[in-house]
């Protein structure tokens, strides 16, 4: 690799913005475009969250009407799920990292990759257009018959956005599967794959199998709305519950689509900053496979109270409890990776350890509670579930995204972020997460339903605490985004491998050249090798590859 790095780069001709970005088929640029677009939508979705929390400062509908509130929380959830977390992980991170981590020059289908991004972009535009023409108001779940009867074009925009983003997701999944199967560098066996690649490979299969069910659900919804079909019209033989089955057949795997690649990020960050090989490589890789498989057998746990007989929930309760096992296996392996390590408190490690593990486990544990049929009878559709999903998606997925952003930032930009602002952003996020989402457990236990603009006055105290927490998160988001934007232009320049990491993306320049590697690397070992002291090895770091 030394020889490769020293080769002079021929300076390419400067390209116009359109040629350089809009027409690009380079997986790294497409990844960056996914990332920038996701951050934009993260700000939009976050703004809706702050509007929702502001309304909930008082028990009555003081700030906005119930109708407007419903539109706000629908936009918040839809944007965060479909335009932020999934594209951030499977668009931005997977696109940028998978080819380079397996030693390839690009994705298997670079043009289809560009198409995936632009479809996602178009889907995002549909969501934004609905702000002008009328926002959807039926929640991100859009259950019929309410979503059929809902007036205005909001739901139609929502269906269009889901369709287009779903197609983008399917194309992206095919690309990742084929890339991992066909494009690995010589010697990059499956058991030498970085764990992030394992996680995206599993996730891509889930996207491929689950997304068509969602497309079916929203298509029939659109037909019922405008062409007088009766898929969900009970008075004419339709069945509203069928929509829920189709929706959750996608959307429960979608929860894993949002967390498995995030686990992959953690499996990269923790060993590097513990200066130690990952503990239990095979256990972590195959527990992702187990989650991917079991994830298709738990969907009806969203429907325990939806009209199935209670005992029909029992198999789904057992599968939902069992799927917690591979997740806990990962947690213990990450902890064991830190055990006897030499842990560095860098910003990505703070997000990965205290931020992610410390918060996400609360969501994991509350998940086992709502998985139990008798307990879900009480907690379903209350704020307890809101707390659960936000500990999974914010304490989990978003913390991992932040860990990944700070970890790969020097690779993507060739510059280092501002460390002090990085820590500030971390602490605001860590504290904000607990203050915002922990009180929601208590409200849910007490029986406060979700999706309500006004609530019983006795619930005000904890709602106000949660709202204050959400403002802390808002400030944290500004600090983090400002840090990254500023540092991308003015940060201190860094070399190819500031973290002394071993995966292949760190063995090329920062930022990498368009073709990733001047010479396709030959892989002879796992990236998770032990670290040795420089005076023992005689080098600043052991030679990779």
């Amino acid at each position: 690799m030394e020889a490769v790095l020293r080769q002079p780069h021929v300076e390419p001709r400067p390209k116009s913005f359109i040629r350089d970005w809009v027409l690009t088929v380079d997986h790294k640029k497409i990844g960056i475009m996914y990332g920038v677009t996701s951050i934009f939508f993260f700000l939009v979705g976050g703004l809706f969250a702050l509007l929702v929390r502001t309304e909930l400062l008082t028990p009555h509908e003081a700030f906005v009407s119930a109708q407007t509130y419903n539109e706000f929380y629908t936009m918040h959830a839809t944007i965060m799920v479909f335009a932020v977390i999934i594209p951030f992980l499977m668009g931005a991170f997977a696109n940028y990292l998978v080819p380079i981590q397996i030693g390839a020059r690009d994705m298997a289908f670079p043009r289809m990759n560009a198409l995936s991004f632009w479809l996602y972009f178009l889907g995002g535009l549909f969501m934004l257009a609905s702000i002008i023409f009328g926002m959807p108001d039926a929640g991100w779940t859009a259950y019929p018959p309410y979503s059929v009867t809902s007036a205005g074009p909001g739901i139609d925009f929502w269906v269009m956005a889901i369709h287009v983003v779903g197609l983008s997701s399917i194309l992206g999944a095919i690309n990742i599967i084929v890339t991992v199967l066909r494009m690995r560098a010589p010697g990059m066996t499956f058991h030498r794959l970085p764990l992030f690649v394992w996680s995206t490979f599993v996730t891509a299969w889930m996207q491929l199998f689950a997304t068509p069910a969602l497309a079916g659900a929203v298509t029939t919804l659109l037909l019922d709305r405008h062409w007088h079909t009766v898929f969900y019209n009970a008075s004419q033989g339709g069945d509203p519950m069928m929509y829920q089955h189709l929706f959750w057949f996608y959307s429960h795997p979608a929860v894993y689509i949002m967390i498995v690649p995030a686990f992959g990020i953690i499996s990269e960050v923790i060993p590097v900053f513990s200066r130690k090989p990952i503990f239990g490589y095979h256990a972590i890789a195959y527990s992702s496979v187990a989650i991917g498989f079991l994830g298709f057998f738990v969907w009806a746990h969203h429907m325990f109270v939806a009209g199935m007989s209670m005992s029909a929930g029992i198999p789904f309760m057992i599968s939902s409890l069992v799927i917690a096992v591979p997740t806990s296996v990962k947690i213990f392996n990450w902890l064991a990776t830190m055990w006897r390590g030499a842990v560095e408190y860098e910003v990505p490690m703070m997000f990965a350890s205290l931020g992610f593990i410390g918060s996400f486990i609360i969501g994991g544990f509350s998940g086992t509670i709502v998985a139990m049929v008798p307990l879900d009878m009480h907690l379903h559709d209350t704020y307890f579930v809101v707390a659960h999903i936000h500990y999974v998606l914010f304490g989990g997925a978003v913390m991992c995204i932040m860990a990944g952003l700070f970890y790969w930032f020097p690779k993507v930009t060739g510059r280092m972020y501002n460390n002090k602002l990085g820590y500030l952003g971390f602490w605001l996020y860590f504290i904000g997460t607990q203050v915002t989402f922990f009180p929601m457990h208590l409200l849910g236990l007490a029986g406060m339903p979700r999706r309500i603009a006004g609530y019983a006055p006795e619930f005000q105290f904890w709602n106000d605490v949660a709202t204050i927490g959400s403002y802390i998160l808002g400030v944290g988001t500004i600090v983090i985004v400002a840090n990254l934007v500023w540092s991308a232009k003015y940060g201190v320049k860094v070399g190819p491998n500031p973290w002394k990491a071993r995966t292949l993306e760190w063995q090329t320049s920062s930022p990498p050249p368009e073709h990733n590697f001047d010479e396709i690397p030959v892989v002879t070992d796992t990236p998770y090798r032990p670290y040795t002291l420089p005076e023992v090895s005689g080098e600043p770091e052991p030679e990779p590859v």
């Binding site: 119930a66 296996v329 544990f365 008798p374 208590l442």
Partner: protein, 223 residues
């Protein structure tokens, strides 16, 4: 609703023996997850501090894994979770199967109020009464979109769907006579959703019969 029984940051009062059983199951689960929560957080913080990088601890140990540990931390959670799932099955059937002797109240969700029909023809909205110490079965449906019939004090909810009947039963404790309990709609149903709350008053059997008769007279006089 001066005499409303609500807690603001923990489980509401237990209106039925079943609610007490469900709470017991909740506290068992809470105990288990709290144990593992404390375990993980303590290990996390300990490892972060104990194994931080210092001048004398510059690289981590050469450890790749342990099959024994993997087996332990796969098997132990799996056994506990499957056991808890299996343990809770009898609660599911206890909730699902109503006793033979029961008093049936027809519940219908509307945009945006609850309607209650009693066997003698009494038809009321929003505020309703139930007899303490009797098995009451709610037979639930919807006239329009999906609603959720939820009594937090009973720890049970069932969605109200058009074209489908759902049910649950309860036996309100006589200790709660005279108290009123909120019955919020728990499935999003439109702009009226937050205001779609019914109030259930638990009364003695005598009082319940008096109330039913009074309602019936009122209804006849009105029609």
């Amino acid at each position: 609703m001066g005499n409303q029984a609500t807690h603001t940051s923990w489980l509401p009062i237990e209106l039925t023996p079943m609610a007490h059983d469900v709470d017991t199951l909740f506290y068992i689960m809470l105990g288990i997850v709290t144990f593992f929560f404390v375990l993980v957080e303590v290990l996390l913080i300990t490892f972060l501090i104990r194994y931080r990088r210092t001048r004398t601890n510059r690289v981590g140990a050469n450890v790749h894994g342990s099959n024994l540990l993997e087996t332990i931390w796969t098997a132990v959670p799996a056994i506990i979770l499957v056991f808890m799932g299996a343990f809770s099955i009898h609660y599911v059937y206890a909730l699902q199967v109503p006793p033979a002797q029961k008093y049936v109240i027809q519940v219908t969700g509307h945009e945006w109020y609850w309607e209650f029909k009693y066997p003698n023809g009494v038809d009321v909205q929003t505020t309703f009464e139930v007899p303490a110490g009797q098995n009451v079965l709610f037979d639930i449906t919807s006239a329009d979109v999906i609603h959720g019939f939820y009594i937090p004090a009973v720890r049970v909810q069932q969605d109200a769907l058009p074209g489908r009947r759902t049910q649950f039963w309860m036996n309100a404790s006589t200790d709660s006579i005279g108290q009123t309990f909120p019955v919020p709609c728990d499935q999003f149903c439109g702009p009226g959703h937050p205001a779609m709350v019914a109030y259930m008053k638990v009364v003695s059997e005598d009082e319940f019969n008096r109330w039913l008769n009074a309602q019936l007279q009122k209804q006849k006089a009105g029609s």
